[in-house]
């Protein structure tokens, strides 16, 4: 019998049968007191867990979370999306600018800067003390991915903003001297932003990975590829939606590459051995990431086929790619949050590691004493 946790965010996976009624008092087995799970719905697949985790039960303090769940709200996963979108749009715009595709360049510059502005808002608004946002600039701290990210963003922003301003210049100002100077500066400005754009798109993976959050920390090898792939796919999507068909060829190709990288990397997360992976493969995070996969795949296929000829198809495919990226970011974020609320994700892997190490030590000691 599983607990009533199914009401919680629509987690539908069956419990592992350990959340029984009060009759399931922990027994005095070998002096070890195994705590039950107090009706918590593990949200994991019982049978698979058996084979992976020899200790079906684990001990905890009244089933309470060991870790603090992230205090970040929806604004952070939203930023993961807007930041990635901005970075990849800027990169696309530079290529478009250099190869004579003004429509695609305009989309990339304006879209990139708009997404950047949204990112700034989201980041500042999520602070507990928004008016102290500038304290981020007190130090440059290589050990803190957030500090590294702050400085990458600071280096990235001016170029992106300048290039977009040049694009948005009203016709009446274009002929004036400042106007001409600005338009002349747009290309180098965009290129300077593009230098830092790959950093903007990838540092967020380290930002999440360098935490004690089991699901994020555990996926630190795959996350950067998921995030850059997702960023590329979303920017390509924006290009498909806004740029004229005959200019959007590179966007369509980038859509296919980005989507492929994102899907493969995110599948690799799902295949990681170990219990922590269940945070990704079950419940709400799983649904979000599945939706992301379908949307991204659909968008990429459209990009390679219909979107070459049909304006409508290009717009639909582009929107699907962007939506896919949003779902991916929220899925990864939710998986992490879920893995902190349930002590199993902390205790089980750590206990296994500890037991294995103790066994090893004991074996080594036994060997040493034999000699």
């Amino acid at each position: 019998m599983s607990g009533d946790g199914t009401t919680d965010e629509g987690r539908t996976a069956p419990g592992d049968g350990a959340g029984g009624g009060p009759a399931g008092n922990p027994s005095h087995n070998g002096g070890k007191h195994r705590r039950r799970k107090y009706g918590r719905n593990r949200g994991d697949d019982g049978s698979r867990e058996e084979s992976m985790v020899p200790r079906a039960e684990f001990q905890s303090y009244y089933g309470r979370p060991v870790l603090k769940p992230p205090v970040w709200e929806w604004k952070i996963p939203a930023y993961l999306f807007t930041g990635g979108l901005s970075a990849a749009s800027t990169m696309l715009s530079v290529g478009a600018d250099l190869t004579g595709r003004p429509g695609l360049a305009r989309t990339g510059r304006v879209g990139g800067a708009a997404a950047l502005a949204a990112s700034m808002y989201l980041l500042v608004a999520d602070l507990g003390r928004p008016f102290r946002f500038h304290h981020m600039m007190r130090v440059a701290k290589p050990s803190s991915p957030m500090s590294v990210g702050t400085w990458i963003l600071i280096a990235y922003s001016p170029g992106s903003m300048l290039a977009a301003t040049a694009e948005l210049l009203p016709a009446s100002l274009r002929g004036t001297l400042p106007g001409r100077l600005l338009r002349f500066a747009a290309r180098p400005a965009g290129m300077s932003a593009a230098v830092f754009a790959p950093g903007v798109a990838s540092y967020t993976a380290v930002l999440l990975a360098q935490t004690a959050v089991p699901a994020w920390n555990d996926a630190h090898r795959e996350l950067p590829f998921v995030f850059t792939g997702s960023a590329a796919a979303s920017a390509a999507g924006l290009g498909m939606v806004c740029a004229p068909l005959e200019e959007a060829g590179p966007a369509r190709r980038l859509a296919a590459i980005g989507a492929a990288v994102e899907i493969v990397a995110s599948r690799m997360i799902d295949r990681r051995p170990g219990f922590v992976t269940t945070a990704y493969t079950t419940g709400h995070p799983h649904h979000l990431r599945k939706a992301s996969e379908y949307l991204t795949l659909g968008g990429a296929l459209t990009a390679l086929t219909l979107a070459r000829r049909s304006r409508v198809a290009a717009a639909v495919g582009g929107l699907a790619l962007m939506a896919g990226s949003v779902f991916q970011r929220f899925g990864v974020f939710e998986a992490g949050v879920h893995s902190t609320k349930d002590p199993a994700y902390v205790v089980k892997p750590q206990r296994e590691r500890l037991d294995a190490r103790k066994r090893e030590e004991a074996e080594r000691a036994a060997e040493a004493s034999q000699e």
């Binding site: 303090y61 205090v71 999520d126 507990g128 050990s143 850059t228 750590q350």
Partner: protein
Amino acid sequence: MTRENSFHGPLADPAGEAGHEDHPPRMGFFTDTSVCIGCKACEVACKEWNAVPEDGIELLGMSYDNTGSLGASSWRHVAFIEQQRPLGHQDAGLTDLPVGPSSTETTTEVVAEALEATERGGANLGTAPVDLGFPSFDLPGAGSGVENRTQFRWLMSSDVCKHCTHAGCLDVCPTGALFRTEFGTVVVQQDICNGCGYCVSGCPYGVIDRRPDDGRAWKCTMCYDRLRADMEPACAKACPTDSIQFGPLDELRERADRRLADLHAIGVSEAQLYGRDPEDGVGGDGAFFLLLDDPEVYGFPPDPVVPARDIKSMWQHAGTAAAMMVAASAAVFLGGRRRR
């Protein structure tokens, strides 16, 4: 294991590593839970001295623990665990009394459901008030009767910030609000913290948290102000059984080793030190413990690792992903200028 960097592995002198010259010895706590009587004097003393605000007065259904967990406004937390077995060689004197099995299972059941419905799954205990819907109609423990008399032991342990040798919270703080003091402890500067919340996810022990109304992150300071005035922290001062011992970490480690040997000698074989080992995932804790059961029973992570251990691999993978992204964005433009 990386040994060459300062993010992981044993580190003899964290304060020196952080740039303090001529600093006092590293100070710490040794919490010997085998003599804890659960009086919560430490919790009270901490609240009093540090003016930590109230964070909800609730009955949690977790034995005598109505604090729940460490948090932004709970810097000491006494855990109570009821177990159906005798404590070492002690005679709890219960054999002739009408004592049933612990009823915490039942009450906890009720509370767990209420907590599950809260936004942060119960981890906000110690941060802000949580409404559990108490009182309920059933008497707690109404299920047990005289026929169920059992042997019984009570584990109590006063938890606190570990002041890690490699502190996850400190590594990730982007403002420099968290810093390493000359005593080797880890403290938040409240005039700097902008409430980014990164430290909350950086701590592998779930200690530090953000106060919802205040927006900044708070945790135990090991009474930095008192230390600077040559006084011992309020909790250690208040502890009537010396379960909380304060002093130079080296001395405490020796003392703990002796205590462990003594306990093992008299047959308390389950006694174990937690956070004592400088070789562990966080390079050893500045506040470590003697426990009478596995760490996770007390709500500790059994084998915590500082997140920055893999920092090199993380950035390498991010770098590779970034390089791939550059290559892809260039490749899609191959074929030169657009066809007209």
